[in-house]
Amino acid sequence: MINNTFAKTAAACATSAALLLGAVTPALAQVGAVNTSIDTTVEVNAVGTGVNADVKANVSVRIGKAKERANQEIDRRVVALTELKARIESAERISASGKASMSATLTSQINSLSALKTEIAADADLESLKADIKSITQSYRIFALIVPQGHIAAMSDRMTTTADLMVSLGAKLKVKIDEAKTAGADVTALETALADLNAKVADARVQATAAVTLSSSLTPDQGDEAKLQANKKALADARVKLRAGSEALRTARQDAKTIVQELKSLGIETNASASASGSVNQ
Protein backbone atom coordinates (compact mmCIF):
# COMPACT_ATOMS: atom_id res chain seq x y z
CA MET A 1 0.00 0.00 0.00
CA ILE A 2 2.75 2.38 1.00
CA ASN A 3 4.85 1.33 -1.94
CA ASN A 4 1.91 1.82 -4.28
CA THR A 5 1.26 5.34 -2.98
CA PHE A 6 4.93 6.19 -3.22
CA ALA A 7 5.08 4.93 -6.77
CA LYS A 8 2.07 7.06 -7.75
CA THR A 9 3.66 10.10 -6.15
CA ALA A 10 6.90 9.48 -8.02
CA ALA A 11 5.04 9.07 -11.29
CA ALA A 12 3.10 12.28 -10.68
CA CYS A 13 6.30 14.15 -9.98
CA ALA A 14 7.86 12.79 -13.11
CA THR A 15 4.84 13.80 -15.20
CA SER A 16 4.85 17.31 -13.75
CA ALA A 17 8.51 17.63 -14.51
CA ALA A 18 7.93 16.53 -18.07
CA LEU A 19 5.21 19.14 -18.53
CA LEU A 20 7.43 21.80 -17.03
CA LEU A 21 10.19 20.78 -19.41
CA GLY A 22 8.03 21.43 -22.41
CA ALA A 23 6.73 24.76 -21.25
CA VAL A 24 9.63 26.80 -19.93
CA THR A 25 12.51 28.53 -21.73
CA PRO A 26 15.40 28.84 -22.06
CA ALA A 27 14.99 25.18 -22.69
CA LEU A 28 18.37 23.61 -22.43
CA ALA A 29 19.28 24.90 -19.01
CA GLN A 30 16.04 23.65 -17.57
CA VAL A 31 16.16 20.43 -19.50
CA GLY A 32 19.47 19.69 -17.80
CA ALA A 33 18.07 20.30 -14.33
CA VAL A 34 14.85 18.43 -14.91
CA ASN A 35 16.56 15.52 -16.54
CA THR A 36 18.87 15.00 -13.59
CA SER A 37 15.97 15.14 -11.19
CA ILE A 38 13.93 12.63 -13.14
CA ASP A 39 16.76 10.19 -13.54
CA THR A 40 17.49 10.21 -9.81
CA THR A 41 13.89 9.68 -8.82
CA VAL A 42 13.33 6.86 -11.20
CA GLU A 43 16.56 5.09 -10.48
CA VAL A 44 16.08 5.27 -6.74
CA ASN A 45 12.53 4.08 -6.89
CA ALA A 46 12.89 1.76 -9.84
CA VAL A 47 9.49 2.82 -11.11
CA GLY A 48 8.19 5.13 -13.80
CA THR A 49 10.69 3.96 -16.40
CA GLY A 50 8.22 4.70 -19.16
CA VAL A 51 8.02 8.34 -18.10
CA ASN A 52 11.81 8.48 -17.88
CA ALA A 53 12.10 7.18 -21.42
CA ASP A 54 9.70 9.87 -22.63
CA VAL A 55 11.67 12.60 -20.88
CA LYS A 56 14.91 11.32 -22.32
CA ALA A 57 13.37 11.28 -25.76
CA ASN A 58 12.13 14.81 -25.22
CA VAL A 59 15.59 15.94 -24.14
CA SER A 60 17.10 14.24 -27.13
CA VAL A 61 14.71 16.07 -29.45
CA ARG A 62 15.51 19.36 -27.78
CA ILE A 63 19.23 18.76 -28.06
CA GLY A 64 18.73 17.97 -31.72
CA LYS A 65 16.80 21.20 -32.25
CA ALA A 66 19.36 23.22 -30.33
CA LYS A 67 22.13 21.79 -32.48
CA GLU A 68 20.11 22.54 -35.60
CA ARG A 69 19.65 26.18 -34.58
CA ALA A 70 23.32 26.44 -33.69
CA ASN A 71 24.32 25.05 -37.07
CA GLN A 72 21.96 27.43 -38.87
CA GLU A 73 23.57 30.39 -37.16
CA ILE A 74 27.08 29.13 -37.75
CA ASP A 75 26.42 28.40 -41.43
CA ARG A 76 24.79 31.79 -41.88
CA ARG A 77 27.79 33.56 -40.39
CA VAL A 78 30.31 31.52 -42.36
CA VAL A 79 28.52 32.36 -45.62
CA ALA A 80 28.42 36.07 -44.75
CA LEU A 81 32.08 36.13 -43.69
CA THR A 82 33.21 34.20 -46.77
CA GLU A 83 31.34 36.55 -49.10
CA LEU A 84 32.78 39.57 -47.33
CA LYS A 85 36.30 38.13 -47.53
CA ALA A 86 35.96 37.72 -51.31
CA ARG A 87 34.59 41.24 -51.60
CA ILE A 88 37.45 42.73 -49.60
CA GLU A 89 40.03 40.84 -51.64
CA SER A 90 38.55 42.23 -54.87
CA ALA A 91 38.63 45.83 -53.60
CA GLU A 92 40.77 48.16 -55.70
CA ARG A 93 41.71 50.96 -53.35
CA ILE A 94 42.20 49.17 -50.04
CA SER A 95 45.91 48.79 -49.36
CA ALA A 96 47.53 45.37 -49.46
CA SER A 97 48.20 45.51 -45.73
CA GLY A 98 44.62 46.58 -45.05
CA LYS A 99 43.31 43.71 -47.12
CA ALA A 100 45.63 41.26 -45.39
CA SER A 101 44.54 42.45 -41.97
CA MET A 102 40.82 42.25 -42.73
CA SER A 103 41.21 38.95 -44.51
CA ALA A 104 43.08 37.49 -41.53
CA THR A 105 40.34 38.61 -39.14
CA LEU A 106 37.63 37.13 -41.33
CA THR A 107 39.51 33.88 -41.83
CA SER A 108 40.05 33.58 -38.10
CA GLN A 109 36.33 33.98 -37.48
CA ILE A 110 35.45 31.46 -40.18
CA ASN A 111 37.89 28.93 -38.75
CA SER A 112 36.58 29.44 -35.21
CA LEU A 113 33.01 28.93 -36.34
CA SER A 114 33.93 25.82 -38.31
CA ALA A 115 35.70 24.37 -35.27
CA LEU A 116 32.72 25.24 -33.10
CA LYS A 117 30.40 23.47 -35.48
CA THR A 118 32.51 20.34 -35.20
CA GLU A 119 32.46 20.57 -31.39
CA ILE A 120 28.69 21.01 -31.33
CA ALA A 121 28.21 18.01 -33.58
CA ALA A 122 30.28 15.96 -31.14
CA ASP A 123 28.57 17.28 -27.99
CA ALA A 124 26.97 14.36 -26.20
CA ASP A 125 26.07 16.02 -22.90
CA LEU A 126 24.04 19.08 -22.13
CA GLU A 127 26.74 20.98 -20.31
CA SER A 128 29.10 20.90 -23.29
CA LEU A 129 26.32 21.86 -25.66
CA LYS A 130 25.23 24.73 -23.43
CA ALA A 131 28.80 26.05 -23.31
CA ASP A 132 29.18 25.89 -27.07
CA ILE A 133 25.85 27.57 -27.70
CA LYS A 134 26.83 30.29 -25.25
CA SER A 135 29.99 30.73 -27.27
CA ILE A 136 27.90 31.32 -30.42
CA THR A 137 25.89 34.00 -28.67
CA GLN A 138 28.95 35.72 -27.21
CA SER A 139 30.83 35.74 -30.52
CA TYR A 140 27.87 37.40 -32.23
CA ARG A 141 29.05 40.81 -31.11
CA ILE A 142 32.28 40.30 -33.01
CA PHE A 143 30.35 39.21 -36.09
CA ALA A 144 27.95 42.14 -35.73
CA LEU A 145 30.93 44.50 -35.77
CA ILE A 146 33.31 43.11 -38.38
CA VAL A 147 30.68 42.41 -41.02
CA PRO A 148 29.34 45.98 -41.31
CA GLN A 149 32.88 47.26 -40.80
CA GLY A 150 34.05 45.22 -43.79
CA HIS A 151 31.12 46.19 -45.98
CA ILE A 152 31.64 49.85 -45.15
CA ALA A 153 35.29 49.54 -46.22
CA ALA A 154 34.26 47.78 -49.43
CA MET A 155 31.60 50.35 -50.29
CA SER A 156 33.95 53.20 -49.54
CA ASP A 157 36.49 51.57 -51.84
CA ARG A 158 33.98 51.40 -54.67
CA MET A 159 32.90 54.99 -54.08
CA THR A 160 36.50 56.12 -54.48
CA THR A 161 36.90 54.06 -57.64
CA THR A 162 33.72 55.54 -59.07
CA ALA A 163 34.85 59.03 -58.12
CA ASP A 164 38.09 58.47 -60.04
CA LEU A 165 36.11 57.44 -63.11
CA MET A 166 33.94 60.52 -62.73
CA VAL A 167 37.01 62.76 -62.62
CA SER A 168 38.28 61.19 -65.84
CA LEU A 169 34.88 61.63 -67.46
CA GLY A 170 34.66 65.22 -66.27
CA ALA A 171 38.01 66.03 -67.88
CA LYS A 172 36.85 64.62 -71.22
CA LEU A 173 33.57 66.49 -71.04
CA LYS A 174 35.46 69.68 -70.30
CA VAL A 175 37.43 69.25 -73.54
CA LYS A 176 34.15 68.99 -75.45
CA ILE A 177 32.66 71.96 -73.67
CA ASP A 178 35.74 74.06 -74.41
CA GLU A 179 35.57 73.08 -78.07
CA ALA A 180 31.95 74.12 -78.23
CA LYS A 181 32.79 77.38 -76.50
CA THR A 182 35.60 78.06 -78.97
CA ALA A 183 33.15 77.46 -81.79
CA GLY A 184 30.93 80.17 -80.36
CA ALA A 185 28.28 78.11 -78.59
CA ASP A 186 26.73 79.26 -75.32
CA VAL A 187 28.06 76.71 -72.81
CA THR A 188 27.04 78.44 -69.58
CA ALA A 189 24.69 75.64 -68.56
CA LEU A 190 27.28 73.03 -69.44
CA GLU A 191 29.95 74.71 -67.36
CA THR A 192 27.55 74.95 -64.43
CA ALA A 193 26.72 71.25 -64.71
CA LEU A 194 30.40 70.35 -64.95
CA ALA A 195 31.22 72.43 -61.87
CA ASP A 196 28.46 70.65 -59.99
CA LEU A 197 29.75 67.27 -61.21
CA ASN A 198 33.22 68.03 -59.90
CA ALA A 199 31.88 69.32 -56.59
CA LYS A 200 29.74 66.21 -56.07
CA VAL A 201 32.64 63.91 -56.88
CA ALA A 202 34.84 65.74 -54.38
CA ASP A 203 32.08 65.43 -51.77
CA ALA A 204 31.75 61.70 -52.43
CA ARG A 205 35.46 61.28 -51.78
CA VAL A 206 35.18 63.15 -48.50
CA GLN A 207 32.22 61.03 -47.38
CA ALA A 208 33.93 57.79 -48.33
CA THR A 209 37.05 58.70 -46.36
CA ALA A 210 35.01 59.83 -43.37
CA ALA A 211 33.04 56.56 -43.33
CA VAL A 212 36.20 54.49 -43.20
CA THR A 213 37.72 56.75 -40.55
CA LEU A 214 34.65 56.29 -38.38
CA SER A 215 34.50 52.52 -38.64
CA SER A 216 37.96 51.12 -39.27
CA SER A 217 39.33 51.66 -35.78
CA LEU A 218 36.41 50.06 -33.95
CA THR A 219 37.14 46.97 -31.88
CA PRO A 220 34.84 44.32 -30.38
CA ASP A 221 33.17 45.48 -27.18
CA GLN A 222 34.02 42.34 -25.16
CA GLY A 223 30.74 42.68 -23.32
CA ASP A 224 31.17 46.37 -22.52
CA GLU A 225 27.71 47.84 -23.05
CA ALA A 226 28.96 51.44 -23.38
CA LYS A 227 31.44 50.38 -26.02
CA LEU A 228 28.76 48.38 -27.80
CA GLN A 229 26.58 51.48 -28.06
CA ALA A 230 29.53 53.62 -29.18
CA ASN A 231 30.36 51.08 -31.89
CA LYS A 232 26.75 51.02 -33.05
CA LYS A 233 26.66 54.80 -33.26
CA ALA A 234 29.94 54.97 -35.18
CA LEU A 235 28.74 52.37 -37.68
CA ALA A 236 25.43 54.19 -38.11
CA ASP A 237 27.27 57.49 -38.65
CA ALA A 238 29.51 55.82 -41.22
CA ARG A 239 26.39 54.52 -42.95
CA VAL A 240 25.02 58.06 -43.19
CA LYS A 241 28.29 59.22 -44.76
CA LEU A 242 28.13 56.45 -47.34
CA ARG A 243 24.54 57.30 -48.22
CA ALA A 244 25.50 60.94 -48.73
CA GLY A 245 28.50 59.98 -50.86
CA SER A 246 26.46 57.59 -52.94
CA GLU A 247 23.81 60.25 -53.52
CA ALA A 248 26.52 62.73 -54.54
CA LEU A 249 27.84 60.30 -57.15
CA ARG A 250 24.35 59.73 -58.54
CA THR A 251 23.91 63.48 -58.87
CA ALA A 252 27.29 63.75 -60.60
CA ARG A 253 26.20 61.03 -63.02
CA GLN A 254 23.06 63.03 -63.75
CA ASP A 255 25.21 66.11 -64.41
CA ALA A 256 27.26 64.10 -66.90
CA LYS A 257 24.10 62.97 -68.64
CA THR A 258 22.89 66.57 -68.83
CA ILE A 259 26.19 67.69 -70.34
CA VAL A 260 26.22 64.93 -72.95
CA GLN A 261 22.64 65.69 -73.97
CA GLU A 262 23.37 69.40 -74.22
CA LEU A 263 26.49 68.78 -76.30
CA LYS A 264 24.42 66.67 -78.68
CA SER A 265 21.86 69.44 -78.97
CA LEU A 266 24.71 71.71 -80.02
CA GLY A 267 25.64 69.22 -82.70
CA ILE A 268 28.72 68.01 -80.89
CA GLU A 269 29.23 64.30 -80.89
CA THR A 270 29.81 62.34 -77.76
CA ASN A 271 28.94 58.97 -79.19
CA ALA A 272 31.18 57.06 -81.61
CA SER A 273 28.39 54.93 -83.01
CA ALA A 274 26.29 58.01 -83.69
CA SER A 275 29.26 59.41 -85.59
CA ALA A 276 29.27 56.37 -87.87
CA SER A 277 25.61 56.84 -88.73
CA GLY A 278 25.92 60.61 -88.93
CA SER A 279 22.72 61.04 -86.92
CA VAL A 280 24.13 63.56 -84.47
CA ASN A 281 25.54 65.91 -87.04
CA GLN A 282 22.48 66.00 -89.20
Binding site: A66, I136, S275
Partner: protein, 93 residues
Amino acid sequence: MSPFGKFVAGVIVVAAVISGIYLSKSRGPVSRQVAPAPSETKGKTPPAGIVESSANASIDQNMATIDSELSALEKDSSKVDEGLNDKPVEQTE
Protein backbone atom coordinates in the same frame (compact mmCIF):
# COMPACT_ATOMS: atom_id res chain seq x y z
CA MET B 1 64.93 81.20 -137.69
CA SER B 2 68.06 79.21 -138.15
CA PRO B 3 68.27 75.60 -136.99
CA PHE B 4 70.58 76.73 -134.21
CA GLY B 5 68.10 79.37 -133.13
CA LYS B 6 65.34 76.75 -133.04
CA PHE B 7 67.54 74.48 -130.92
CA VAL B 8 68.26 77.26 -128.41
CA ALA B 9 64.58 78.16 -128.22
CA GLY B 10 63.72 74.49 -127.58
CA VAL B 11 66.29 74.22 -124.80
CA ILE B 12 64.87 77.34 -123.17
CA VAL B 13 61.31 75.99 -123.31
CA VAL B 14 62.36 72.62 -121.82
CA ALA B 15 64.35 74.35 -119.10
CA ALA B 16 61.39 76.58 -118.31
CA VAL B 17 59.06 73.58 -118.03
CA ILE B 18 61.49 71.69 -115.77
CA SER B 19 61.99 74.76 -113.60
CA GLY B 20 58.28 75.22 -113.34
CA ILE B 21 57.74 71.64 -112.21
CA TYR B 22 60.57 71.93 -109.68
CA LEU B 23 59.22 75.14 -108.23
CA SER B 24 55.75 73.71 -108.07
CA LYS B 25 56.94 70.71 -106.03
CA SER B 26 59.20 72.71 -103.75
CA ARG B 27 56.26 74.99 -102.80
CA GLY B 28 53.88 72.10 -102.16
CA PRO B 29 52.78 73.08 -98.63
CA VAL B 30 51.94 76.56 -99.73
CA SER B 31 49.70 75.34 -102.46
CA ARG B 32 47.98 72.88 -99.99
CA GLN B 33 46.99 75.75 -97.78
CA VAL B 34 44.72 76.98 -100.49
CA ALA B 35 43.53 73.56 -101.59
CA PRO B 36 39.82 72.72 -101.28
CA ALA B 37 40.32 69.89 -98.79
CA PRO B 38 41.13 72.06 -95.79
CA SER B 39 38.09 74.17 -96.54
CA GLU B 40 35.92 71.06 -96.24
CA THR B 41 37.49 70.13 -92.91
CA LYS B 42 36.92 73.63 -91.63
CA GLY B 43 33.28 73.34 -92.58
CA LYS B 44 32.87 70.39 -90.18
CA THR B 45 34.22 72.14 -87.12
CA PRO B 46 31.86 73.08 -84.24
CA PRO B 47 29.06 73.80 -83.96
CA ALA B 48 28.48 71.69 -87.05
CA GLY B 49 30.11 68.80 -85.18
CA ILE B 50 33.30 67.65 -83.57
CA VAL B 51 34.53 64.26 -84.65
CA GLU B 52 36.96 62.61 -82.29
CA SER B 53 35.97 59.01 -82.40
CA SER B 54 38.47 57.76 -79.86
CA ALA B 55 37.55 60.45 -77.34
CA ASN B 56 33.85 59.91 -77.97
CA ALA B 57 34.14 56.19 -77.53
CA SER B 58 36.04 56.82 -74.34
CA ILE B 59 33.26 59.00 -72.99
CA ASP B 60 30.72 56.30 -73.75
CA GLN B 61 32.89 53.68 -72.11
CA ASN B 62 33.35 55.90 -69.06
CA MET B 63 29.61 56.43 -68.76
CA ALA B 64 28.91 52.71 -69.08
CA THR B 65 31.56 51.80 -66.52
CA ILE B 66 30.29 54.43 -64.11
CA ASP B 67 26.73 53.10 -64.48
CA SER B 68 28.02 49.63 -63.72
CA GLU B 69 29.91 50.88 -60.66
CA LEU B 70 26.88 52.81 -59.39
CA SER B 71 24.78 49.69 -59.76
CA ALA B 72 27.37 47.70 -57.79
CA LEU B 73 27.41 50.50 -55.24
CA GLU B 74 23.71 49.89 -54.63
CA LYS B 75 24.47 46.26 -53.86
CA ASP B 76 27.28 47.31 -51.51
CA SER B 77 24.84 49.64 -49.83
CA SER B 78 22.36 46.80 -49.30
CA LYS B 79 25.12 44.69 -47.79
CA VAL B 80 26.00 47.45 -45.34
CA ASP B 81 22.35 47.67 -44.31
CA GLU B 82 22.15 43.89 -43.93
CA GLY B 83 25.23 43.94 -41.73
CA LEU B 84 23.87 46.71 -39.53
CA ASN B 85 20.40 45.19 -39.23
CA ASP B 86 21.54 41.61 -38.84
CA LYS B 87 19.59 39.38 -36.45
CA PRO B 88 21.05 36.10 -35.26
CA VAL B 89 19.18 32.80 -35.26
CA GLU B 90 17.93 32.71 -31.67
CA GLN B 91 19.79 30.19 -29.56
CA THR B 92 18.66 28.51 -26.37
CA GLU B 93 21.20 27.83 -23.70
